[in-house]
Amino acid sequence: MTSNGSNNISTSPAYRIVSISVLTAVTAVFTLLIRIPIAPTRGYINLGDVAIFFTAFTFGPITALISGGLGTAIADLLSGYAQWAPISLVIHGLQGLAAGLIVRKHLIKFQRIQFQQNSDNAAEIDEYREKGVRKMLISLTAGLVGTIIMVGLYFLSGAALYGIGPAAFEVPGNIIQCVVGFVGGYMLTRAVVKAYPPVSDLFL
């Protein structure tokens, strides 16, 4: 009997469940531990969104939906902001889902090709570059939609919970956090795909 298992790893139920759990934990740890003190409201921004965009770009929409939502919700729970947990669950989940649906598999596959190609053929390089611009635009769209979902929904739920004024005050901080999240997530996806190519087979 001969078998090549590499095609069905990422579809095995055990693999799916574990990858979602590990990325949930990664999202929670990025949210809880890594804080950059620049945003005005909470005094810092966290890197939870970096993990969410990374998950969306590498593991796809379904994983990002669950681990993005659950990871930030657990982080809220553990840092004493339990009232935010259900809201984060929904908002960050949708953010990851949208980003993953927009980029689809091609982004991560492309990043791997880009790395492997050797610069010999000028026409080929041009083609890669052209494709690269298109992929860049697609991922920018993903970042933009993700940001709009996150900032918009936080504003709406904030307005419902404690009024329009304070909710509006949080918007700039959330935008910064989300943009940092997108840029960081994109850079990390590139870095991880290059340093660990098997990642590019995991998108589902």
Binding site: S12, I17, A25
Partner: protein, 256 residues
């Protein structure tokens, strides 16, 4: 570093069945959004805060305020400017700073958010996390979702440790400094996060092997060992919480 919000205790809040408690949490929060008037919101919020004293102990009972304070200040500063109608209370030159409507709204918002915060605080301070998961299972959360929650809690300390080791390793390699927060630090963070992610992604297949070898994924029906207590206690607690729910919703109408 990471501590659960649960506080061990033997108060009646702890003893109350978590499924009934969740029901009360939901009605409690819903009531805060219903247009009953500020007296009732204040009364209910007051009850939540009072219940926090036996549930969390006197020292911890007021800790949510520490996290609430910045937001309360924001509400005080940013709500009144949106209201120009009603009797004017404070002016500065030609500017209307505070009207009666604005004041009322500010008070309502503060009370509502405090109430919501305490309702959640009460639930999670008196319910251990595995019971929270079992409660959600009882309300229909799929097994796989419950499994993901439990495994995430196992992986969080693991990934935290990995993160600390990785940042130590990068520090000693000269590629990462702590203490200073600037562009160089943020740039140095990228290698650290890359290593953490590679390490995490690489452990997934091995952990998946473990899960598979524990019989996960076969079509045999799983049984479950951990279970919330059922029987008469559950029944009484449920009746009790339904009654309280009805009372807190009906009370404003009765009084009116």
């Amino acid at each position: 570093m990471i501590e659960s919000s649960y506080h061990e205790g033997d108060s009646f809040v702890h003893a109350f069945d978590p499924r009934a408690k969740l029901l009360l949490l939901i009605t409690g929060i819903t009531t805060l959004f219903l247009p009953f008037g500020v007296e009732f919101s204040a009364a209910y919020t007051g009850v939540f805060i009072l219940l926090a004293i036996p549930a969390a102990g006197f020292r911890h009972a007021f800790s949510p305020f520490k996290l609430l304070l910045p937001l309360i200040i924001l509400i005080i500063l940013l709500t009144p400017p949106f209201f120009k109608e009603g009797e004017v209370l404070i002016t500065y030159r030609n500017w209307i700073l505070l009207t009666e409507a604005g004041l009322m709204r500010t008070i309502v918002l503060i009370i509502r958010f405090t109430g919501i915060t305490y309702a959640f605080f009460l639930f999670f301070t008196s319910t251990p996390l595995n019971q929270v998961v079992l409660t959600l299972r009882w309300y229909g959360l799929p097994l796989n979702a419950a499994l993901i929650v439990s495994m995430s809690f196992r992986f969080i300390p693991y990934i935290t440790t990995t993160y600390h080791h990785v940042s130590d390793a990068h520090k000693l390699r000269g590629s990462y400094q702590t203490g200073m927060w600037g562009w160089s630090h943020i740039r140095g963070l990228l290698p650290v996060l890359t290593s953490v992610l590679i390490k995490s992604v690489k452990t997934i297949p091995v952990m998946a092997m473990s899960l598979e070898s524990r019989g996960f994924g076969s079509n045999r029906k799983r049984t479950s060992y951990q279970r919330l207590r059922g029987g008469r206690i559950l029944f009484t607690h449920f009746i009790f919480s339904v009654m309280i729910s009805l009372i807190i919703i009906a009370l404003p109408y009765v009084v009116a």
